[in-house]
């Protein structure tokens, strides 16, 4: 899922200081699981805005905020609230924010969250980055552990000289991805996979600059 983090409320207030009426849009998927854009967070945001003397014309948690057409249909009943609002605050990820931008071309849209990464919830409210959406998966060659994402230098032929006691040089809290890869490949009897030099990566599929894609194909 897309991991999001609530932005600083004061910064948000500074951004929207010229507006009075707000519509709050959340999402029932990732943002709800992250606790950044579900019903409780929308309620809290509404109260916080009202405490600042602002008024909230409506709130809604979209089923899947990045699904533009579905969200459009879901938001139809909120036409009046949307007409009355000066701006929309989106409490999901960057994609959800841009759904609102696409649907309401004449309304300013503000993100309430920072989108951090694509990750897994490993324990309750603990999220670990696992995938960089690089467009050409190499997990088959690395025992299912992604060095693009989890190695601080995205090395394809690691580990570098900064791997110590299973940790990455950049933080004692960060496991060395290559140590994990070597351990896992040893366990499954596939360490020989690392004998070959992995060639330079084709980064082209990861830089699509918003080019529309269909059915997963460019």
């Amino acid at each position: 899922m897309i991991i999001t983090k609530k932005r600083d409320f004061e910064e948000l207030m500074e951004n929207v200081k010229n507006y009075r009426n707000f519509f709050l849009l959340g999402c029932s998927e990732c943002a709800t699981l992250c606790g950044t854009g579900g019903e409780p967070e929308l309620k809290a945001m509404k109260e916080a805005l009202e405490a600042e003397g602002k008024s909230v014309t409506g709130t809604f948690v979209a089923k899947t905020g990045c699904q533009v057409l579905g969200t459009k249909v879901e938001l139809k009943p909120f036409k009046e609230a949307m007409d009355k609002t000066d701006c929309i605050i989106v409490m999901s990820c960057g994609a959800g924010t841009q759904t609102a931008v696409e649907l309401y071309e004449d309304k300013p849209v503000y993100p309430a969250n920072d989108s951090l990464f694509l990750g897994n919830m490993t324990r309750l409210k603990v999220f670990d980055e696992r995938c960089s959406l690089c467009g050409e998966c190499i997990l088959d060659k690395t025992g299912g552990i992604c060095p693009i994402t989890r190695c601080a230098k995205s090395l394809l032929n690691g580990p570098c000289g900064g791997s110590q006691d299973g940790k990455c040089e950049i933080s004692p809290d960060l496991p060395c991805a290559w140590e994990l890869i070597i351990k896992r490949l040893s366990k499954i009897g596939c360490l020989h996979l690392l004998e070959e030099i992995m060639p330079p990566k084709n980064w082209e599929p990861s830089y699509n600059s918003g080019l529309p894609t269909q059915k997963g194909k460019k």
Binding site: S154, L156, G158, S163, E169, C176
Partner: protein
């Protein structure tokens, strides 16, 4: 000869080789590099110029190399993949060769987090092993990474680093195999303080007969102070300083002399290891001591050829 550099000639000639390191300044003063070059010129076979080491912005490695080359010194251009993508890397190599630089040391580079621009985006388009491979292809096939032809010769003597003290220890030699397979002609290792561990590592290197395929220069870092010993033990990633060394420095009457003694003992032990072709001295901010150490180690005169 692949590149005809002095370093290549000395190593291929089978001589015990000495290289040292020149850190360029955080500024534009060419004299800083020249002064270090002057100091070390008669004591080494080649001099490395670091490439924004510890991710701190400094004068570029290639320009430092040119300043040294103009003084008749054989420079080793260090190149990290942290700051350049494959386009800039290949372009810089063409320029370096055009200017007469012949030795290149391929590195990943210290992570940008450690430097003075921690908010920078690290590039890491290719890794250090792929960099070695790229240079070999440019030299041997006169082709770019994309297969297109390069005009002119690309005379390069290709170096790589290895850290025998990083983990997982058992895998380090397998990675060195990959570096040699990729095309490394010489290796400069991380600074050695734990000679026992280094001897063990060299045993694994000889088991794979890597010492026959690549020239290995063992890294030596002279310790200037107790603070430096402690700092390297506790804070510098990839360097393993045993407590015994720190204790020795702490107990020394003349701390600098003790640092020199440790370096000399290390060099003496290293020289005896089968398969070692030379030493690489990294006297960070203590270049003055390099001539002293080499003289007392009986490794002069230089350059040997």
């Amino acid at each position: 000869m692949k590149a005809g550099s002095n370093l290549e000639k000395v190593l291929e000639g089978g001589y015990f080789t000495v290289t040292a390191e020149v850190g360029p300044p955080k500024g534009t003063l060419a004299n800083v590099v020249k002064r270090k070059g002057e100091l070390l010129k008669s004591y080494c076979d080649a001099l490395n110029v670091t490439d924004n080491q510890t991710a701190i912005v400094r004068m570029s490695s290639w320009s430092g190399c040119i300043l040294l080359k103009d003084m008749g010194i054989d420079p080793v251009m260090q190149m990290v993949v942290r700051d350049r993508n494959r386009i800039a890397i290949q372009s810089d190599i063409l320029g370096a060769v055009a200017l007469g630089i012949r030795n290149v040391l391929c590195l990943s580079g210290d992570h940008q987090k450690f430097g003075n621009h921690p908010t920078a985006k690290g590039v890491y388009d290719i890794d250090s092993i792929q960099l070695i491979q790229t240079l070999k292809t440019m030299r041997d096939e006169k082709k770019f990474m994309n297969g297109e032809d390069i005009s002119g010769e690309v005379q390069l003597f290709i170096g790589a680093a290895e850290n025998p003290f990083a983990d997982p220890f058992e895998y380090r030699v397998m990675r060195l195999v990959k570096k040699v397979k990729a095309g490394a002609d010489f290796i400069q290792t991380q600074g050695i303080f734990d000679v026992g561990k280094f001897i063990k590592w060299m045993g694994m290197v000889r088991d794979q007969e890597l010492d026959k395929k690549v020239h290995i220069l063992a890294g030596v870092i002279p310790i200037k102070s107790v603070g430096m010993a402690r700092y390297m033990r506790d804070n510098v990633s990839g360097i393993s300083v045993p407590d015994a060394i720190v204790t020795r420095m702490e107990g020394a009457k003349d701390v600098k002399e003790e640092g020199v003694q440790i370096a000399l003992e290390t060099i003496d032990q290293i020289k005896e290891i089968d398969g070692i072709h030379g030493i690489h001295i990294m006297a960070v901010a203590w270049e003055d001591i390099v001539p002293v150490i080499l003289e007392r180690a009986g490794l002069l005169p230089r350059p040997i050829l």
